[in-house]
């Protein structure tokens, strides 16, 4: 399924984050895939997804500047593609 920022998402249940100076390491215990969340703000976004009705509201809450929204949505689409985040029912 394509990533849709109008919908609610969450960090996948099998994913754990480890804080690092650059952001966080994300490891999916199911697929054994390691990803890198390359900024602290992206970590806030990924962990904040489950508290908001859609991705846009999550980006607002994390204070992502307008000019960077496209980059963040692209990053989230990639994380959705690898299963690091998943649609919330």
């Amino acid at each position: 399924m394509d990533f849709d920022p109008e919908r609610p998402y969450r960090k996948a249940e099998q994913v754990e984050l480890r804080p690092e100076p650059f952001g966080a390491l994300a490891y999916h215990f199911g697929t054994r895939r390691l990803s890198f969340l390359k900024t602290p703000t992206l970590v806030d976004v990924v962990t904040g997804l489950e508290r908001h009705d859609d991705v846009h509201a999550t980006l607002d809450a994390a204070g992502v500047p307008e000019a960077q929204r496209g980059a963040y949505i692209a990053a989230l689409a990639e994380l959705a593609g690898t299963g690091t985040i998943e649609p919330r029912p």
Binding site: E16, R18, E20, P21, F22, Y27, F29, R32
Partner: protein, 391 residues
Amino acid sequence: MKLTEHFQYGLDAPICLTWELTYACNLACVHCLSSSGRRDPDELSTAECKAVIDELARMQVFYVNIGGGEPTVRSDFWEIVEYAVGHHVGVKFSTNGIKLTPERAAWLAGTDYVDVQISLDGATADVNDEVRGPGSYDTAIAAMRNLHDAGFGEFKISVVMTRHNVDQLDDFKAIADRFGAQLRITRLRPSGRGADTWHELRPTAAQQRRLYDWLVARGESVLTGDSFFHLSAYGEALPGLNLCGAGRVVCLIDPVGDVYACPFAIHEEFLAGNVRSDGGFVHVWRDSELFADLRRPQHGGACTSCGYYDSCQGGCMAAKFFTGLPLDGPDPECVRGFGEQALAGVDGASVPRSEVDHSRTGKQGPVPVSIGMGPPDRACDESPLAGMRAG
């Protein structure tokens, strides 16, 4: 700061680490990176292994690569695996397949957070057994069949590239596809017994080029453990971090608890400490002088003026060290040929060797290991089976 720069300066905990549980092995592969064979009487006990896992869990190390020796010949191996996954430390273990019975394969298929990597160094028995010993091909294939039949899913087949198997790459991929496995190929290092065989076994320059092209064409579908980043100087970078992670994002814990910068660097020069010392593994990882050194910006030395240095980063530290080359010079397999030139000037007598050697002497070839093991009763036992108790 770019992500790779963070990695160069080191992380608070390794991304993953290799943990060799025993020096005992039923095989005697001619390129064994840890010169395994006999168990060391001082190997970590079950309780000490669990204490290491507790530390890894606290450090949020997501998974460990367990190897050896042949880790499954430890009678407490499955207990250690269960303890690790129970504490949310995933396990990928490397094995020659000796203990992967249909029953064990079924157990593994039902256990989360465990991945299995079967070693195979030839797509045919003749090529494989020449390096890994008579019968080892059949053992590996039987283990693969057991995992496949048990519905384990995508296990790994791990191949060390040699002069004799580069031309079998497509055949390895076919074997992996046949068993629903993923192929992983890694670089032959002149470490352990590999120091004695590297010159004869390493791929030729033409084979290196073919290997690179094959890997570029396969993308992320074939794993490499990031071990071929020295080939990135051919052009496009291969998938992975493309840097030497030694002491920065990876390290090795050996069977007696010694912590080395990387699995291919078992030598006192790269020994950072021991997990049994005060402060344990965390202290070694965060505070050892050696690791602090490795995390400082490195100098390209003789490579600094080379236009390809940004691609290959000077290659593999262990490959240079164990061939007698300076660490700030070219990799011995530098794709531009500077390594070959440097090797020609090396005085063989000055090449460093590891003092850590558990090779069996006397009887050559594989030894059947079908019983459990406890600590050997004497430090000088020559057989990997000496002193082992049944059950």
